[in-house]
Symmetry: D2
């Protein structure tokens, strides 16, 4: 089986500035994800972070990435516009994109959706979340149970400012009374996108086996294939007119 | 029945610079559309063009518009970014948007779709186009036949750089051998969007009765309703947690 | 505004056999719905029930119906197969269909969906349900708030054995920890279908103002229009081949 | 890579009764497909035909099938209802289904769609068909070009009596002036379905390399995975109510 080249992008700020977060993810969320996903030797993983030159996403890195994971929160605005546009074009040309948790408000997800994806309800009280599978036929849910239960998570509630997804895979139930479209897919050009809700920085969500399984499935689903090359622009007729 | 406030936006350049186009639309495409659509007294119509201040789309105009029609071609890049962003936010808050023909490459349609909507095949040889209805249950096709035939049109061919539409209403057949998704709908936030392919500036397409009927149906389908007010941001739990 | 001819079909068994249900709906669920919806004079309403000849759905009734409402529960199997097939053909030719609550397991909904729509989780403990709007742009939610709260309802939980809906309008939260796709639309041929979850026979759900508003909106959304007449079968070419 | 167990079902009547068809497919369409697809050693292929006992689809065969291909035409009505229902349940529980050409009118496809899928325009004049890819991101189009051209095929034209597909992969252009949604996917329960238009019995379409490539891709896309086991019926609350 061919390797999949994965780049995990992380804002990597909370983990440096906030004691509580550092306790959960001492080396940053990206390193935890790398460790967890890296158990699968099909995945060849690198990381990139906001404070690296070009936000860590040089042409060299992007062109060598099959699937990009994105975690950001407080500093969405600091990501460089030209980097965002390069990532967008890479997705349109086939790179997979997995947007995690507060990445919903990132420039890249907003631009690919066209809507105010930063808009939703939220609450940080560490309440219970239960993510119910609603599309049992999707490769992204292979090998997990009928729901994933997380004892403590940040709440995200509807309305979520996304377009109607191509596929709705998970719906979350929250103890405080809300629901949320927690796992949604989109196609944009040749690229496949999966948004997956859980993963607040204060809770060890990315150490949860089922959460990791879903992300791993998503990476495999989103990897680029040998797609037809499309021809656009001024073209001659194929039939006499 | 309540009035619907329609604003027809037109680039209005070809009609001034090109003799051939001026013959077809002497007062501009916007004035022809206003005349044709205005037969329906439910529609209260104004126009706006690129070379007016703020591209004719001041806050006052936008806030007084239920449905915006958009025709542009060569000068997409000259539309002001701040105007585009205001239009986008108005759509997300409920204004309908009808994108016509070469408007597929406009900033506003590209931004709302998230993809390279300017990409498609094209050819100006005045060949025959036949737009087949493929969603007979849609209000947009009310009162027309099973297809619309246009003797001479510009060809647009797949691949068309749009996301999978929420609804596919028309597919075009072209004499030269191509097909095209000619009538597609999207929802973005509270707003409804319809892209409708025909309408090259050199042909009298906007004098075709069935084409006008489709646009009129689309305006009525896209008009904003009294939608629920959504609440976003930090919210208290509804249940004890 | 033109009248809409509505037929409310009800199994009408519980209300006769069960004391508790009779207290809530002494004349049957159909009569309550007729009373509540009938306040809107645009709707011309008749009822039909299982124990009438031809289940109350003669050709005369069906051909004179714009939108059919369906409530059934314990006796789905007793509905005549030939009646079900006639209803299905009427939907495919444009009649709207609103399937209510336990109607999810009806022959007609199962046949139009193609799946085991009777399958879901359920529990009768009168727990709290909160139906969240997730498609704010849909005419079906016009004039209601961001959710509908029902103090006591039967629980329905995922997985719900439906195909991915064309549009997802409501998601329910239940006190016991489940979620459910509570308001979903489908198009089948010329016909529009809306499934709406709430309405257990033991609770006065159909006296709830917002629930009635949603059903009324759905009736108006589902009414047949003057759609194009489709031509099928062996046809001559439109172009020389 | 794990094997995929494929069963190719064929009506197998034309090939016996019609000289012209026998010339193209002397051993039947199923044997040609078996030969062509069988080059890929990941596929373990058996065949089944109408005139075998239980239409060749015994429990033993069905339970040992990952993906079922279906070609039928004149004798749809002779397929046993109980076999159709068993196939349907197998699809709902995860078996992939590839419906080919005139299989659009089969009982199994009609039942899984819920609509009159037998309805479409058709014409047997051996005209040119060009199948355009419209979803470049789909695994089903991996490795083919931007269209497939077939010099001689039966024409199928819109309106096609299917529900709006989950994904639209191909649109056909026909020389005679029609278009058709030629490659469409549906999910039904755990099962994935692909309908693929070309393959009239009088033309050597199933010897076309690109056509075979698409069917092979579809088989791999439709194979069942290790999906979550769903729980339905009366269930206890997960939270205190």
């Amino acid at each position: 089986m061919e390797n999949i080249k994965v780049t995990i992008w992380n804002e990597f700020r909370h983990e440096k500035s906030d004691e509580e977060v550092r306790k959960v993810y001492p080396n940053g969320i990206h390193e935890e994800l790398k460790k967890q996903l890296g158990v699968d030797k099909q995945l060849v993983i690198r990381t990139a972070t906001l404070d690296e030159p070009e936000n860590g996403l040089t042409d060299e890195v992007l062109n060598d990435t099959d699937v990009l994971l994105w975690w950001g929160h407080m500093s969405h605005e600091e990501v460089l516009d030209e980097v965002v546009e390069k990532v967008r074009q890479r997705v349109l040309h086939g790179m997979g994109l997995i947007v995690l948790h507060s990445g919903h408000g990132s420039k890249i997800f907003t631009k690919l959706c066209g809507t105010n994806t930063g808009e939703l309800k939220w609450r940080e009280q560490g309440e219970k979340e239960r993510l119910w599978v609603v599309d049992y036929s999707h490769p992204i849910v292979e090998g997990i149970g009928e729901y994933i239960e997380l004892e403590h998570e940040e709440m995200y509630g509807e309305p979520f400012g996304i377009p109607a997804p191509d596929e709705l895979v998970f719906i979350s139930w929250f103890a405080g009374g809300e629901v949320f479209r927690s796992g949604v897919t989109y196609k944009r050009g040749l690229g496949k996108i999966f948004y997956f809700r859980p993963g607040h920085e204060s809770y060890p969500t990315y150490k949860n086996e089922a959460v990791i399984k879903v992300i791993k499935n998503a990476v495999k689903w989103a990897k680029p294939l040998n797609y037809p090359k499309s021809v656009v622009g001024n073209t001659k007729p194929l039939e006499e007119i």
